[in-house]
Amino acid sequence: MAEELDKVDVVVVGTGWAGGIVSAELAKAGKNVVALEKGEEKIRSDYIGVKDELRFDNRYDIMQNLKGDTVTSRNEIDETAMPIRSPQTMQIGIDTGGASVHWAGATYRYWPYEFEMRTQTIDRYGEEKIPDEMNLQDWGITYEEMEPYYEMWEDTAGIGGEQDPLAPERNKPWPNPPMKETPSLKLFKDAASNLGLHPYQLAAGNMTENYENPDGEQLNACMYCSYCTRHGCDFDAKSDPIATVVKTAKRHDNFELRHKANARRVLYDEDENRATGVLYVDENSGEEFEQPADVVVLAAFAFSNNRLLMLSDIGEQYDPETEEGTLGRNFNGQYNHAFHGATGFFENEKFNLYMGAGALGATLSDYAADNFDHSDLDFIGGGAIELRQYGFAAISSSNNVPEGTPGWGKEYKDTSLHYAYRTLTIWYTANAMSYSHNYVDLDPNYSDQYGDPLLRVTYKFGDNERNIAQFGIERCTEIMEEMGADIVEPGSVPDEFNHSYTGGHYTGGVVMGDDPETSVVNSYLQMWDVDNLFVVGGSAFPQHGGHHPTPTIGALAYRAAEGIQMYMDEVEGQLVQANSRRRSV
C-alpha cells in the first residue's frame, strides 16, 4: 500500500523548463510546492570536466534509460506498433532539469500567424486551402497576449540575440547581445543577402556576457566549448533549469524537490471532478507514496503528460475512427520531415568547425510562417533556414563525405579526412501539422516495468509535410549554391515518418484552445474538465510551429504559473470563463 504523505498546496511533476518555471513562480509566491523528478539529482559538478563525445553523443548518457519504459510507434491505425528500444532513436530528457539541460539553446518566438493559423489561413487563402484531414486550430491565445510571457522567459534564460528584421518589433531588446560571427556564418549571411533575403544572428541560450537574471541567478559568458547540445554545460553558461528556475525554487523553504520520484498516476476524485494528488514510486527503494495536493501540475514532457492522464483515466481518449474525444488528439512534432536542406562541400575553405556552441548560428525568416505568399504553393506554414555551428567532435566530423563515397574502407578514410571541416549543412525548420489520423493512446501489447501500458504514437505525414520539406530543400539549395560550395547536395524528402525520436520536438495530445470540443486545456493550460489540474509543456501545442519549441514552452509555463496563482487566490473554477475569453459553441 502506498504511504500517504502530508498534503501540500501544489505538486509538480517534472523539473525541465516547464516544471521548473511553475515551481519557481509558485515557490516565490509562498505556496508549499513539491516537485517530483523521475531521474537523479544532477548538479553543475556532474557536467564539469566530462566533455566526451562518445559518452554523450553516441551513448546518450544524459538521456532517459529506456529499460523501464519507452514509447511504441506505428504509421497506420491498423498496424501493430513496435517499441522504440534504443536511445539511438528515442531521446527523452531525464534527471534534474530534463531535456532542458541538454538542449542546444536555439531561440525563436512563434509568429502571430502561427497562434491563429486556422483563422488567418482562411482569411487569406480561403477554407479550401486546409486539407480535410488536417486539424488546423488556433491556440486560443494571440501573439500579443503571449508576448509578455515570452519576455519573462527570455529574461530568466538570458537569451542573447538581435532583432529579426522580419519579425514584429520587440518591446525591448534581447537581454544579451548576439553571439560571435564566425567565417561560416558570415558566408551564409552574405550569400543570403545577395539573394535579397534577410539573415540575422540566431538568438541563443548560450550566454554572450556574464548575466544576472531577474531572480538574481548568475550566468557566465559562454566559452564556445562545443560540447553543448546533448551535454550539460560546465560553466553555468547555457541557460538551463539547474542554473536558473530550479535554483530559484530551491532558495525557498516552502519548496521541496524529490528525485527518483516516478509519478505513476494522478489521483482523481471522479465525483468531485478534482485531482487530489499524485501517486509515485521512489525508484531507489521501490516504495510507493501518495502526495496529496490542492493543485496538480503535470510538466513531464509531452509523452508523460499524455500517458499520465490516460493511465489515470482523466479526460476523454481520442478515437481516430469516430474522431471523438480530445485527449491524445493532435499529437504532432518536428519529425524527419523537418531539418532538411542542402549540404555543401568546399574545396578551398576549411572551417574551424570543431569550435562552436549549441545555438551559435545564422538564420532567416523570409520563408517562415506566412511571411511569403502561399497562394500557389501546395502547403501552408514555413520555417527558418539556419546554419548552425554546434562545434562538432571527431566521430561526428568523420561523417562528412559527399554522396557516393563508400561508408568504410580506403576511399572512405581518405575522403572523410579531406572533408571533415569543409562541409556545411543548412536546413529548414519546417512547421508540422496535426491530422485526424495522428494521435497517442495506450499500447495494447507493450508495458513498462510495473506492467502499465506504454504510450503508443500513431503518426504519418500529410502532403503538407512532404511538400514543405521539398520547398525547404529548394530554398536551401539556392543559398548553398550562392555560398559557393563546390559540391552542392540537396537533401531528399522522406517518404514517411521513420519512428526516430531524436530531436526532442514532440508535441500535442493535450492541446490548448478556446473550444473544449477540440482542446483539453484552456489558454492557462488548465484542464477544461478538472479545474485544479494544469498540464504544462509542448503537449499543449495544437500544431508545431515552424521553429524550435522551447521558448514557447517556457512562455506558456509562465502563463500557467500565473493562472495557477489566480486559481488558488482569486478565481474559482475555470480561469478562462472568468476572463470571459471567447468560447466557440
Binding site: 528500444r85 528515442m90 569550435m355
Partner: protein
C-alpha cells in the same frame, strides 16, 4: 505586466551568499576557475599550446612501452578476436594518412565496449515480444544484445571464411575479406536473431567510434585518430579563436588532461 514586476521583488536570498558558493569571480571566468586549482594551472597559458603533452603519452604503458590494458575481457576465443581485428582494419585501414584500426587499438576498444552498458544493452527497452525484422523501420528490435550481435556476427564471418575459402578470415587476401564484409553489409547473410546489415552497421560504427573516441576508451591510441582528422579534443573553450579565418591545427589533448591528469 503586473506579474512581471513582481518577479524582481521576490529575492529572499542573499546574493553575496550565492557568489560565495558559486566559485565565480565577479569579472567572469578566467581559465580554469570552475575547476579549482589542478586543471586551472594546466590551462592558464594559451589554450592552444601543449603544456601537458609530455606526461600524457606514456600513461597506461609499462616501461617497455607495452600497453598493459591490451587484453581481451569479452571475446574469449582468440580466433573470434582475430576475425574482429582483421575486419576493423578493412573498415579503417592503415594508409598514407596514418594508422589503421588495429594500430589505434580499435579491437580492444570494441572488446571493452562489449562489457560496457552499451554492449549489454542495459539502457535499452528489452521486453518482448521481439521481431528483429522490424529493424527495417523501427531501429534496433533484436532480442540479442550488441555484444552478442558482434560475437555471433564475427563467428558467422569466420564460418563463411572456412566453409567457402578454407581459411580463417584473418588469413584471407584483402579482396576476399572485403567481399565477405560487403555480403554482410548488403544483408545477404543469415545470422540467427539479427539481420546481417544490422550487424555490419554496428561493426562499422563501433570501429569508427574506436578510431575517434577519447583514448580513455582504449582506441584512438596516442591520439592517432584525432591527429589524422585534426581534432584537438576537449578544451575549456574556443572563444578567442572562433572568429579566426584560418583553420587551426592544434595538438590533441584528451579527457585525462582536461580533468587535470588523474589523482
Amino acid at each position: 505586466m503586473a506579474e512581471h514586476d513582481n518577479k524582481g521583488k521576490e529575492k529572499v536570498f542573499s546574493r553575496r551568499d550565492f557568489l560565495k558558493t558559486s566559485g565565480v569571480a565577479a569579472g567572469g571566468i578566467v581559465g580554469g576557475a570552475m575547476f579549482g586549482g589542478v586543471v586551472g594551472s594546466l590551462y592558464q597559458s594559451d589554450e592552444g599550446t601543449q603544456t601537458a603533452e609530455t606526461e600524457t603519452d606514456t600513461e597506461g604503458a609499462s616501461s617497455e612501452g607495452e600497453v598493459l590494458d591490451d587484453a581481451r575481457t569479452y571475446f574469449s576465443r582468440g580466433e573470434d578476436f582475430e576475425t574482429l581485428s582483421a575486419a576493423t582494419e578493412k573498415i579503417y585501414p592503415e594508409d598514407d594518412n596514418g594508422p589503421g584500426a588495429i594500430e589505434l587499438g580499435v579491437p580492444y576498444f570494441i572488446d571493452r565496449q562489449c562489457s560496457h552498458f552499451w554492449g549489454r544493452n542495459s539502457r535499452e527497452y528489452m521486453m518482448g515480444p521481439f521481431d528483429y525484422t522490424a529493424a527495417e523501420t523501427h531501429g534496433i528490435q533484436s532480442k540479442m544484445t550488441r555484444a552478442e550481435t558482434l560475437l555471433f556476427g564475427v563467428r558467422r564471418m569466420l564460418e563463411i571464411s572456412r566453409e567457402e575459402h578454407d581459411d580463417d578470415f584473418a588469413n584471407l587476401d584483402e579482396d576476399t575479406q572485403i567481399n565477405i564484409l560487403e555480403s554482410f553489409e548488403s544483408g545477404d547473410v543469415d545470422i540467427t536473431g539479427v539481420r546481417s546489415e544490422d550487424f555490419f552497421a554496428l561493426l562499422r560504427n563501433m570501429t569508427i567510434q574506436g578510431v575517434y573516441a577519447d583514448p580513455v576508451y582504449g582506441g584512438n591510441r596516442d591520439y592517432g585518430g584525432w591527429r589524422m582528422i585534426e581534432f584537438p579534443g576537449p578544451r575549456m573553450g574556443w572563444g578567442n579563436d572562433i572568429e579566426s579565418e584560418d583553420f587551426q591545427v592544434i595538438d590533441p589533448e584528451g579527457l585525462r588532461t582536461y580533468q587535470g591528469g588523474g589523482m
